[in-house]
């Protein structure tokens, strides 16, 4: 199957990070272009026709949000993802009001960014079919390619490998009891040498918080001597 590559335009004044993001995205099968300044972004959009724009909110001294607003007005169909080290809620709100589809806090992992890119370029295309790499249960989704967790409101949460393995296992066996043994096999595979009771507990707790703190309508229940079950909230 020869699907066209997703074209990403990244604008960020941090050259080191910008280059490594582009390199990483290209490795993952995107066609990413990097610009370190906002000058000429408009022209670049016209030339490259990117599917998505990833934009640092504070490029140099310019206020990225203002510029993004302008870009958005000119290209209303272009989704804009903000990335920024400003974690203030006001900045985030302003960014989203300016027409951004998502706001990612720095630092972020490569897969969190690609999960966002996948999600918002997919939304743009009229196919309502769910792509193969998304598993959905109830109102949550698991992005198996980028190993992230997607909530019903569209928020994408990054998962550590262990958390992903556990969550995948639990979602695959939704509403069924999964034994501890099965979970730890899912996490460590045959590498029993790394098995650690304490850290398994720790990861399970993190998964529980993830599921229960985000209004997913689900709960991770513990069944003594049997295992764990991911099911609807009672």
């Amino acid at each position: 199957m020869n699907t066209p590559k997703i074209k990403v335009l990244l604008v960020d004044d941090d050259v080191l990070l910008g280059n490594s993001i582009v390199e990483e995205l290209n490795k993952r099968g995107y066609e990413a272009t990097y610009m370190s300044t906002i000058y000429g972004v408009s022209d670049a959009i016209k030339q490259l026709l990117p599917d998505i724009l990833v934009f640092d909110v504070e490029i140099g001294r310019e206020n990225g949000i203002k510029i993004a607003e302008d870009l958005f007005k000119r290209n209303p169909s272009l989704p804009i993802i903000f990335i920024s080290s400003h974690h203030e809620d006001e900045t985030k709100e302003a960014g989203l009001l300016a027409g951004g589809v998502a706001y990612i806090d720095k630092p972020f992992s490569p897969k969190l960014l690609s999960a966002h890119i996948d999600r918002f370029t997919r939304m743009k295309k009229p196919t309502s079919e769910r792509p193969e790499h998304i598993i959905a249960t109830e109102n949550i989704q698991l992005d198996t390619r980028n190993r992230t967790f997607i909530l019903s409101d569209g928020t994408i949460i990054d998962l550590r490998p262990m958390e992903y393995a556990i969550l995948k296992k639990l979602i695959d066996h939704f509403d069924e009891i999964v034994t501890r043994e099965e979970i730890y096999r899912a996490v460590w595979g045959k590498d029993v040498a790394y098995y650690n009771e304490q850290s398994l507990n720790n990861y399970i707790r993190r998964v529980r918080l993830l599921v229960e703190d985000n209004d997913t309508g689900m709960a991770l229940s513990m069944h003594r001597n049997l295992g764990y079950k991911l099911g609807r909230k009672q």
Binding site: D14, L16, L17, S20, I21, E24, S85, H87, K106, P107, F108, S109, P110, K111, R160, P161, W188, D191, A193, Y194, Q198, N202, R205, D213
Partner: protein
């Protein structure tokens, strides 16, 4: 600050206006007083001068007419016959009557020298001021006509700033006739006004200098304030700049981790990324602590299981302090929950636990317990660490204070206290040097 400047300017203008008004009132009062004084002395002078003029004209007839002052001299040399009138008032009246009669006589004989009167008066008055113009008239009241008029314009050219007109009269009633001698003098007193003006100007200049000095000080303070806020801004900027290499490191570590298939390096990369994230959060905390928390809305609070939260914190601590063998005693009941903002409350408790472990030996014991009472929730975190002196205890919750000059940022407990306060609670501490410290986090029992 801009608005403040406007207020200060307004106050200065008002104060200045008040000063000018009071100066004006004072000057007016002084001028009035001066005119009154001058008038009195003019009247006195007029009376005296008439007597002197009379004495001058009497000498023509070889009659020795002396004024009161000269009389004592005369008395010593000659031996005049004194007529004693007992009552003082009558005495004056009598002497005036005699004088009037003599004046009337000399007027009739045309020996009363009005020009002499004018000269004498002018000479006298020129001592205190400067006679600008003078006018002496002799009027026959019964006949209602002016018999004589002497007019002088001394300095018509030079205009004096401060000129006043003084009028003095002498009515002379003799049985058949009545005369009126009237003197109208315009006297300029530039010297007096000069003195007044100098005093006023000096005081105004002094107040202007004071105002300028105040403004200068204000400007200095303002500049200093700007400098401080600039420093703060660049400090924030510098901290902010720390985040971008961290963002790069985090991105790269996780990209490597994802590709790594070998469990051991994968786990190391994962931990490294965690550490970078932890550091970023710490920087965020530093940045945030500069802003005060607003009160946390009730709706934002969540039910947080405290036991698990503390376990999580200790897991992080074990990673943070790999060389320390942490003995953690968690006495909290498994189902104990508090209503709080999970991230902030965890940060708050983490700071206290981190301090308990940091300022301790390599085998720290940290004990934590929680009690719910009718009104509040008390979370106690005690350690067997180095403890604090009374002086340290006083300052630990202040921003940028740290007893540890090497490792401490001085922001931790201040931040923790801000979080507790934003939740409607507070943190208190008790400590003994060498024995350890106990921190008590009191939160309102919002389950009621």
């Amino acid at each position: 600050m801009k608005k403040n400047f406007v207020y200060i300017l307004l106050v200065v203008i008002i104060a200045f206006a008040a000063l000018l008004i009071s100066q004006g009132l004072w000057m007016r009062y002084a001028v009035d007083k001066n005119i009154k004084d001058m008038n009195e002395s003019f009247q006195e002078c007029f009376k005296k001068t008439i007597s002197e003029t009379l004495a001058y004209s009497m000498s023509k007839y070889n009659i020795e007419y002396v004024t009161d002052e000269e009389y004592d001299e005369v008395k010593k040399k000659e031996n005049p016959v004194e007529v004693n009138i007992k009552k003082d008032s009558e005495k004056t009246l009598a002497s005036i009557k005699i004088e009037n009669a003599l004046i009337a006589l000399s007027i009739r004989e045309d020996s009363f020298k009005f020009s002499k009167l004018d000269t004498l008066l002018t000479n006298q008055l020129n001592r205190d001021g400067r006679v600008v113009s003078s006018c002496i008239t002799l009027e026959d009241i019964s006949g209602n006509k002016i018999l004589k008029e002497i007019r002088h314009d001394n300095n018509a050219k030079s205009t004096s700033l401060y000129v006043n007109t003084y009028i003095a009269e002498r009515k002379i009633d003799v049985s058949s006739q009545s005369y009126l001698i009237k003197a109208e003098y315009k006297i300029g007193q530039s010297g007096y006004l000069q003195k007044l003006g100098i005093v006023a100007i000096v005081s105004i200049i002094a107040s202007i200098v004071i105002v300028l000095v105040l403004f200068f000080l204000l400007l200095m303070i303002n500049r200093r304030c700007d400098e401080i806020s600039n420093m703060e801004r660049s400090f924030h900027g510098a901290i902010h700049d720390l985040k971008s290499p961290l963002a790069y490191a985090y991105f790269q570590l996780l990209s490597l981790e994802e590709r790594e298939t070998d469990m051991a390096p994968k786990a190391s990369l994962s931990i490294a990324a965690d550490r970078v994230l932890f550091l970023t959060n710490k920087i965020m905390r530093l940045l945030k602590s500069a802003h005060n928390f607003r009160k946390i809305e009730k709706t934002d609070k969540k039910e947080v299981p405290l036991y698990e939260m503390m376990e999580q914190v200790v897991v992080e601590m074990r990673i943070m302090f790999p060389n320390k063998e942490i003995n953690f005693i968690n006495n909290i009941a498994a189902d104990f929950t508090i209503r709080a903002l999970p991230d902030l409350m965890e940060a708050c408790l983490r700071i206290i636990v981190e301090n308990a472990i940091k300022y301790n030996n390599d085998n720290p014991t940290v004990e934590i317990s929680a009690i719910r009472s009718q009104d509040d929730i008390k979370i106690t975190i005690s350690d067997n660490g180095t403890g604090m002196t009374g002086q340290q205890m006083k300052n630990i919750f202040k921003p940028y204070y740290s007893s540890d000059k090497v490792n401490g940022s001085g922001i931790g407990l201040y931040y923790a206290q801000s979080i507790a306060k934003a939740h409607g609670g507070r943190i208190t501490a008790t400590s003994a040097v060498g024995k350890g410290s106990t921190f008590l986090v009191t939160l309102p029992n919002s389950s009621i």
